[in-house]
């Protein structure tokens, strides 16, 4: 096993990996940009290396700086986390060439599966169903128009190197096509250093269900069943759960999708953690979408249900160990759900809301796991993804898991910035959600049918007025109590930012 591992990432996933390293007895090396000197992952790591200014292009995407840090600190392996360089075959290759183990699949597997168009070709060879669309990137507007007519509108533009909905655009009519390609390409360039986009047929209001696969370097390959990630806004997952309400009702689909995922992975000579994403249409046909050749944000729901620690497994497999179990050993228990807590304002188009966290209370107790990347007093930088933490709940059944998640959301308090916590409360108590009628258009439809909220609870307003009056009184009487007056300035700063 490795003695020291560098984590080429930041935020909650860096913290989560640091915890796993500590549990296995491996020293951790964090990297940080100018914006992250005070970040939690830097505090928690055994060692830390500065890798450049705030813009990720000059730090978290800077291969040379990261490899230098690994050399200087004497790491034997590099964990890429998710996002940033995690699905970049050149980075994986560069790690290997520099003598570091890349904790993930081989560069070759990433090339075969990392790009969406290439992945589609592998899937077709592996006899897995795919969404009708282009096998090649868009090369000209004429080619695009022809393809769109053949596929039939609405079509979806996607970044070839894409992920997380970046560089993705839905096009409903030919008139919108050219502008949409421009937008998608520029966003793809910014996000993935590749402006290539391709085209797929839009599957209307599909479910998004993915299969976790795991392989070792000795040819053993298993799947850990599914996660349903249908709740998305702007192609960004918001709530994920395991098991999927649909597959719980139709378990034969689970087996079929699991086998398809393993076939695709095998065709690409895959090892370490990977996720095959599928769309499921209203007739319950499933289509392979893409393989995420890395650890997923939502991996904890699989961990809580299977009892496995995927990061521990990643490290063991990367160090050459065999998978310690086979397919039939994989057992399931209960129901897990994850809410991604973002610094954003749901009442304002989910607009990002960076700033100083002046007060933070995270939930705890039975069945609750918080994978957090923040701490009270920390300022959420404007330079990166606004995810603060992942709130994960487990219980023996989906209904109780939802009730538990509501309880945890009510315990969760973040002051100084906006978050989507109140929004989760609404979704979690929504009847359609509770019945498991999920699809990727769910949230948009929810906003349409969302009950118009009149004046909020009069009792709570009364309490708020009592507290505000009391607070103002305390703050203005005599010399203001010191701690508080600093809070005042913090609060103002965060709101003025």
């Amino acid at each position: 096993m490795f003695q020291k591992v560098l984590i080429a990432n930041r935020g909650e996933i860096a913290v989560r990996i640091i915890r796993a390293l500590s549990e296995i007895g491996i020293r951790s090396v964090a990297v940080y940009s100018d914006a992250d000197r005070a970040s939690l992952h830097v505090r928690m790591a055994d060692e830390a290396a500065h890798i450049g200014p705030a813009p990720s292009s000059q730090s978290y995407l800077n291969v040379e700086r990261i490899l230098d840090a690994a050399r200087v600190h004497g790491a034997q392996a590099i964990h890429p986390g998710y996002g940033f360089l995690s699905e970049n075959a050149e980075f994986a290759q560069a790690c290997n060439d520099a003598g570091f183990v890349f904790i993930g699949p081989s560069p070759d597997s990433i090339r075969k599966l990392g790009s969406k168009t290439a992945g589609r070709r592998v899937a077709i060879e592996a006899h897995a169903p795919v969404v009708p669309g282009l096998e090649e990137p868009i090369s000209s507007i004429h080619q695009a128009k022809a393809a769109a007519r053949e596929i039939g509108y609405p079509v979806l533009l996607k970044a070839v190197a894409g992920g997380g909905g970046k560089g993705m655009r839905r096009v409903d009519a030919e008139g919108e096509l050219e502008a949409a390609i421009r937008d998608a390409s520029s966003e793809a360039q910014r996000s993935f250093q590749s402006s290539e986009v391709y085209m797929e047929k839009v599957v209307v209001n599909p479910r998004h269900i993915e299969i976790q696969v795991f392989g070792d370097r000795h040819g053993n390959l298993v799947h850990l069943d599914e996660r349903e990630c249908s709740l998305q806004r702007r192609h960004q997952k918001v709530i994920e759960e395991c098991p999927s309400p649909l597959l719980s009702a139709f378990p034969e689909m689970r087996a079929a999708m699991g086998e398809a995922a393993v076939r695709i992975a095998r065709a690409a000579g895959y090892y370490n953690a990977g996720t095959a994403e599928f769309l499921v249409d209203s007739e319950r046909n499933f289509y392979f979408l893409e393989m995420n050749t890395r650890l997923q944000v939502e991996h904890p729901v699989t961990e809580l249900v299977t009892g496995l620690d995927l990061v521990h497994l990643q490290l063991r497999v990367a160090s050459g160990e065999r998978l310690p179990f086979s397919q039939q050993d994989v057992s399931w228990r209960g129901s897990a759900m994850e809410c991604r807590v973002y610094a954003e304002d749901p009442e304002n188009g989910f607009f990002p809301s960076p700033g100083k966290i002046v007060h933070l209370a995270e939930p705890g107790g039975p069945g609750i796991r918080v994978d957090s990347g923040v701490y009270p007093g920390w300022t959420v930088p404007i330079d990166y993804d606004p995810m603060l933490a992942k709130l994960i709940a487990w219980s023996p059944d989906r209904k109780t898991t939802i009730e538990r998640m509501v309880r945890a959301v009510e315990e969760y308090a973040v002051m100084g910035i906006h978050t989507n916590l109140a929004f989760f409360r609404e979704i979690l108590t929504d009847r359609e959600f509770r019945e498991g009628n999920l699809h990727t258009g769910f949230i948009d439809q929810f906003f349409e049918r969302r009950p118009a909220r009149g004046e909020p609870d009069a009792e709570l307003r009364a309490i708020a007025e009592i507290v505000a009056a009391h607070h103002a009184g305390v703050r203005t009487q005599a010399p203001p109590r010191r701690a508080s007056s600093q809070w005042l300035s913090n609060g103002r700063a965060s709101l003025l930012r």
Partner: protein, 133 residues
């Protein structure tokens, strides 16, 4: 009704009123206070345009939506023109911040009364973007 209020952490209060227990957290919001009580937010003594906007878009009553930027960013594209009728949920402006393009949508149907910004403009927090009536 008997009220027992204690500041148990800086700017965090425990309130017992009529036998019920509440936890309230207070931070200053421009000119007034933002008070969170059991997960619900109340803006008291409002002067901050953002909070004004938030409460209007949040409130049930139809009518004016005064859309403002909630943080510094860059206007990528204005998707509507003044006088245009827009449907609920229709995209109005694409603003980029935190490495994300964010499409600001109409919360309710209406007519675009005024557009304050154009493509490429840099906007500050609280700056007015457009008004829908």
């Amino acid at each position: 009704m008997k009220v027992d209020i204690r500041e148990i952490e800086p700017a965090v209060y425990s309130v017992l009123r009529g036998g019920k227990s509440f936890t309230a957290r207070v931070i200053p919001s421009l000119g007034g206070y933002l008070v969170e009580v059991d997960g619900r937010e109340f803006v008291l003594d409002v002067r901050d345009p953002r909070d004004a906007a938030r409460r209007e878009t949040a409130s049930a009553g139809a009518g004016r939506q005064n859309l403002t930027a909630s943080m510094p960013g860059k206007v990528v594209r204005v998707l509507v023109t003044e006088g245009q009728e827009v449907a609920s949920g229709q995209g109005l402006i694409v603003v980029e911040a935190m490495k994300m393009q964010n499409e600001i949508k109409a919360a309710k149907p209406g007519r675009v009364a005024k557009i304050h910004v154009q493509d490429g403009a840099t906007v500050e927090a609280g700056e007015a973007l457009l008004i829908i009536e």
